[in-house]
Subunit: 421 residues, 2 copies
Amino acid sequence: MRIEILCTGDEILSGKTVNTNHSHMARRLGEVGLTVCWGTSVGDDRESLREAFRRAAARADAVIVNGGLGPTVDDLSQEMAAEAAGVELVLHADWLARMEAFYERRGRVMPPNNRKQALLPSTAEFIDNPIGTACGFALEIDGTPFIFTPGVPREMRRMMEEQVIPRLLSRSGHRVATRMKRFHSFGIGESRADHMLGGVESLAPAGTVKLGFQAHYPQLETKLSVRADSEAELERLLAPVEAEVRSRLGTHVVAEDDDTLEGVVSALLARDGCTLATAEMLTSGAIAARFLPGKDAVDPHRAGVVSRDLGQLAAAAGLAAVPGSPDSSAASAIACALRRQVGTTHALATLVAVDEGEDRIELGGTVVIGISDAGGTVTREARLLGGREWVRLGAVELAIDCLRRRLAGLPVDERIDFEKR
Amino acid sequence: MRIEILCTGDEILSGKTVNTNHSHMARRLGEVGLTVCWGTSVGDDRESLREAFRRAAARADAVIVNGGLGPTVDDLSQEMAAEAAGVELVLHADWLARMEAFYERRGRVMPPNNRKQALLPSTAEFIDNPIGTACGFALEIDGTPFIFTPGVPREMRRMMEEQVIPRLLSRSGHRVATRMKRFHSFGIGESRADHMLGGVESLAPAGTVKLGFQAHYPQLETKLSVRADSEAELERLLAPVEAEVRSRLGTHVVAEDDDTLEGVVSALLARDGCTLATAEMLTSGAIAARFLPGKDAVDPHRAGVVSRDLGQLAAAAGLAAVPGSPDSSAASAIACALRRQVGTTHALATLVAVDEGEDRIELGGTVVIGISDAGGTVTREARLLGGREWVRLGAVELAIDCLRRRLAGLPVDERIDFEKR
């Protein structure tokens, strides 16, 4: 099934807005086993839309149109869809009533412009938008199914999951229950992970579970896309593959699905009533910033000190003697002093010394981490390469991961792929 | 002149990579007065490229193709360009020699695959890539000029500025010297800035200077695009408009061109041999992280303390008495204590209290800033709305901007548009 994604709007075409809608839609379609064969972006003008609809209808087996469903005069999707299908626009009374109620709940009167959003081509099938005023719709143009979706990313994303993907899967003859299981790991590169996980897909019947990777340095995301006839079958297919991936990636898995490394660390600390203080040299607060509290999130981070000067950092951590160099004994002493000064159960000190010279891909840095807790002190030292920012990002992740390992009772000194010895 | 941007590559089409190349190219073309009329993305397959080249040639007056110039078998741009133009591929000996020298300088032997990158359609005009192995080229397909550019963003960006834009401007009959003057401001929204700057373009002859905005909350970027026959004329046209924009935006301008707010603050501090310490509540190191040192950058930031607990923060700043609430007197006392403790000339304390309740667009927060220096203490209080993250981002910017104002001798309490009173 050849799918085309057609994004409309001057903001996208002119580059004022980066087209993350295309990438989200294409990625999600790929994850459920559907293939995007063509991408088009055109502005808000009738001639371009006419031509784009005609070409897409001729080329693709299904077309997803994004944008142009708003209330203003430059939103032309309904009008041009009706023209292309050779039908009239008719008022969708239910949607008009829903929009009016939507405004009423917010104590406002619906502006007259919005009425336009309830005008749909007469042959269109209505598609619900539970979180906005731009409903979607589906209709055939020159015999090809078109699905129209709103340009607001969160509305588009929800409609993709609930309406677009199930429709396309059912039309394509694919199975209809889908899931994406995700593992977030730190310390292994994509090629090694690929090697480590060779053959895991074969633990499920061919074509039901698909393995994929997405590298977001310093983390790697490993994904299992599963398709089945039902949720129950899906669980059954996924279980052995999921367990095998978890076991092979082992201690490198820092979180799963919507969890994050820092979330896992916070939860481990909170479980035992523990609290955290951080000291950072060169990462300048980037470690502390990872522990920003969410709405209901646990919040064990009590205080942090940051300085790019080792002496200043040591002083801020309450250490009387100034260390000579940013080595393991300095990291250990700073963590101990900070833990005592702030009165937390745990303290994490991260010292980074980047090599001298111009920033370049070969530039390296030495990262030294010290963790102090009731059980004593552990340290970890690593040499990272890849330029200033790369070293800094790696140091942040390595530090938080060391703390995760310490809290989980895992070795803190397992070698990582980004490390040069 | 109707320009089409044609991005090639499975990574872009499948959504694995977000297509920032399209947005960059389109934005830059718009800024010099050229218009992008169509955007296409296709994967690395011959049939799609063939069809995309044919359609673009029929539709556009000029086509920029991006990607597919690499050394691997899925890089098809040269091959398909030659096929579409009905010519052979020939070896560009100069480029081959340049590539070999490029590898040699790095102490490596060029892999044989890379030879492919020196094969160009026989009618193509070579376009230099001074920073990579994928050279560009230009040729006509069905009478329409096509320019092929590398997919690596930094190589594409440089080629756009140095080669693509001048060629397109000259072909379009536009004037050829162009410049983009940029002002970064904090505290004014796009619509107010638009209003404040009404008519400035008319200080230059019609069509030579174009005003535009790009909002990156909390900052706003105001851009003046200038086109002229020569650099000298360009200076002459720009000068009065630039001066007028600077004057009307006034104290809200935090930096110009490639400068940043934090860079300006660091330079102001360094000018007078001053140093800085920061205390942050809720922004969790995000203020300190803005002062990350670059390669040759001045680095006046000495130390920072962060905590989400007011008592802990006060203690870390060396304040004996714990403040009762995060108000102006607390901010002032923390800044004074911190300055004394760390021994810097300046201290900046930023306290944020976000309202209780679920995170939502109406959620507000109170930001209190205290600055201590040899001249005494100043404070600033502001109420921001827009949800947790919005308040936090606004607080970071407001704090650094207050310090800029203090250092520059400007009032620190000028009302900003994001503020509700």
